[in-house]
Amino acid sequence: MFKKILFATSATEVSDHAARVAFNIARSYNAHLNIFHVLGVPSRGFSQVVVDVKTKERVDVDDDYMDWVKEEVTTYYSKYLDNGLESSITVTVGLPAREILRQAKDTKPDLILLGGSTGDEKDSVYKKNSAGSTLQKVARSAKCPVLVVNRPAASFWGGLSNITFGTDFSKTSDKAFDFAFKIAKALDCELNVFHALDIFSLSIGGILPQDDIEQKIREKLRTIRSRYETRLKELKNYSMEVLEGIPYIEIVKYARDNHSDLIVMAHHSRKIKSEDANLGDNVEQVIVRAGCPVISVNR
């Protein structure tokens, strides 16, 4: 299923839960794990100075410093790195989202796994002046699925048995379905196809009667059937559901109630957010809230 995984990490506590998932998948599926760390952001014009992401100090980066950081990363993950896990460590300098995408372009992984956020805007040296966060940029442009573990609660990965796939019936959602279906089939797990009826966008200009809502739900269920059921029948276990509410909340709730260990959703590349917008896209909200890892697929 996964042969090459790119794990982008700050190599600090905030990435610990993502690290557990990363090492777990790599081990479970005998994948090669490339631990990728952007140690700092270029600063001071064309000088050799970068702001170190861990210490927030300005340092002159040379080969010795790079080696030292590599050593640090190795030590940080030493407890995971034994037992014949196939792995490599790459350390570089630059703007994280860009460097993660560059590494992905060069190494072509099947999956990119992103560590946790490095803190709020004010503290983080990563996010200075970036239009959108690392997550937004990587999820938008990556050519492979991107797995994000945002909350510690989402870090359990004892193998996969239950997947929630959230759809909005877009083309990109079809791509995400293909991916979710492939995992479900390969790993023999249950696939739940879910659509959340956005009652707020429906009710603009007045309150919608429940009969109308339920009518819409029936329509959407029919859409799910016509779109996905033929293929779903190839699986042993699957289900289809439509509920009304705020989409990202409904998806998170649905996945929780179903004990899903993975959510798969489409990322709509065309809706990149400006620097002052919060995570607005549904998938981004789901990532922030979900109790399990979320995979975002954009093509």
């Binding site: 014009g45 000088s47 050799q48 410093y65 630059g94």
Partner: protein, 462 residues
């Protein structure tokens, strides 16, 4: 020790030599070696006799020591009006002394001159605007830097920068292959969103030849994507050269005259090879000065002009907005207080103030644009010009120099600063990091892309 391993009079010209110099972290050994570097006074005096011509001679001679330049210099203002920071004093006590002593100066003097040339003048040329005789100290400092470079008295990063140009014809270790590949990568990343997006390489006879700053390729390739997107939406017939794409010149900041010539000739060769109607460079100030304003003289062009008409990015943007090639959705205009940083190199030195104001008139909701004070050709340097941004040993002085811009920005009340110049962008970035005044800053490209009214036929299907 006359010549050091790292610090010497020999320019850096190969990747190995660049890496060797880089391996001396922060230039610690380099500066130690500099303390015992010999001066070749004969060479220095001979060089002066060959290159110190009527304009500079006159300027140095006719300075009336009136002190009108003092207040014009932001470094004088920000350093408690220290008389030693008066532009006339700064140049008379360095270049003037070297000339008076016919090149017979010692090591200590040269190290002092280096500090004055790179940490007490950003070559912003503001003093030249205020001198009753029109004496431009910034130009003279550019000349002094050349003499210092020849003798090996140049900040470590500047020697590296000039070496990069000699080695790669770019300010960073970015090869021609890297450049083309990165551009292609960016097209690939954005072509779904902008169907038909391309970056034609080496197309002959295009309307526009586009040149960039190597830092975009190395660290901020989004900038390349944004340039491509804007040309694409505007329906321009454009191309990038597979060689001669670097518009900047750290060699100019370093005073490495030979490297300046090599660098600019690589761009002119691209112009001559591809015969475009015009050349447009990225949002960079010194790059424009190097390639369009000073470059023709370095290359020995008699007409003082580049081989083809060359304009700054802001001139193209203003034109594209004016002619309707690019349309702005008025509902997406900037609706918060916003100010603009006037780059010395193309505002004061080339008079493009109206172009940037014209752009503002399209992209900012009326009433939200605030000028800095002073502004336009009277604006102060960002604080990091002329190479100041990147020089480690003068960091303290540079950080102090940022105070002028910090206070100018604070006074506008704007939280968003448009900075269509790489060097200004860097300085403003650093000043936010140093002083935490809570501002955001941006080039024009990303801001404009967000508010474009894209014609239906250029939108993706769905």
């Amino acid at each position: 020790m006359p010549e050091g391993k790292y610090c010497n009079k020999t320019p850096v010209e190969t990747p190995e030599e660049v890496n060797f110099l880089l391996s001396d972290t922060s230039g610690n050994t380099y500066y130690e070696e500099m303390e015992s570097l010999d001066i070749d006074s004969d060479l220095l005096w001979k060089t002066i006799q060959n290159t110190f011509k009527s304009r500079l001679k006159t300027w140095l001679e006719i300075c009336a020591h009136c002190g009108m330049c003092a207040e014009s210099c932001f470094l004088y203002q920000v350093n408690n009006r220290d008389p030693k920071q008066v532009p006339a004093y700064k140049i008379q006590s360095t270049l003037g002394e070297i000339i008076n002593r016919k090149g017979k100066v010692d090591n200590k003097f040269m190290r002092h001159a280096m500090e004055v040339a790179w940490a007490q003048c950003t070559c912003c040329n503001r003093c030249g605007t205020y001198c009753p005789h029109g004496i431009d100290t910034g130009i003279m400092f550019g000349y002094l830097r050349g003499l210092l470079y020849q003798q090996g008295f140049v900040p470590w990063e500047m020697k590296i920068g000039a070496g990069m140009h000699r080695t790669y014809r770019a300010q960073m270790d970015v090869t021609n292959e890297d450049f083309v590949e990165t551009f292609e990568w960016m097209i690939e990343e954005n072509e779904d969103e902008y169907p038909g997006l391309t970056a034609p390489v080496d197309k002959e006879g295009a309307d526009i030849l586009y040149t960039v700053n190597a830092r975009e390729v190395k660290h901020y390739p989004e900038d390349l994507a944004e340039a491509a997107i804007l040309f694409h939406i505007a329906g321009e017939n454009w191309t990038i050269p597979s060689a001669g794409w670097e518009q900047t010149s750290l060699a100019m900041f370093a005073g490495d005259w030979a490297a300046c010539k090599m660098q600019v000739e690589s761009v002119y060769a691209a112009m001559e090879r591809l015969k475009p109607k015009r050349m447009i460079g990225t949002e960079c100030g010194h790059a424009h000065r190097a390639t369009v304003i000073e470059g023709p003289y370095w290359a020995g062009r008699k007409d003082g002009l580049p081989p083809v008409e060359s304009i700054h990015y802001v001139e193209w943007l203003a034109e594209a907005l004016r002619t309707g090639k690019l349309k702005i959705d008025p509902s997406k205009r900037i609706k918060e207080l916003v100010t603009i940083q006037d780059s010395c190199n193309y505002i004061r030195n080339q008079g493009l103030k109206d172009a940037t104001r014209e752009i503002i008139s399209y992209i900012v909701e009326p009433g939200y644009f605030v000028e800095m004070s002073p502004n336009k050709e009277h604006n102060y340097c960002c604080g990091g010009g002329g190479g100041f941004n990147g020089i480690g040993i003068f960091r303290k002085q540079r950080n102090k120099a940022l105070i002028t811009k910090r206070d100018q920005i604070l006074k506008t009340g704007a939280k968003l600063v448009l900075a269509p110049c790489h060097n200004c962008w860097d300085a403003i970035r650093d000043l936010e990091e140093e002083y935490n005044i809570g501002i955001r800053w941006s080039f024009l490209k990303p801001v404009i892309i967000k508010m474009l009214d894209i014609p239906d036929h250029l939108k993706p299907e769905e």
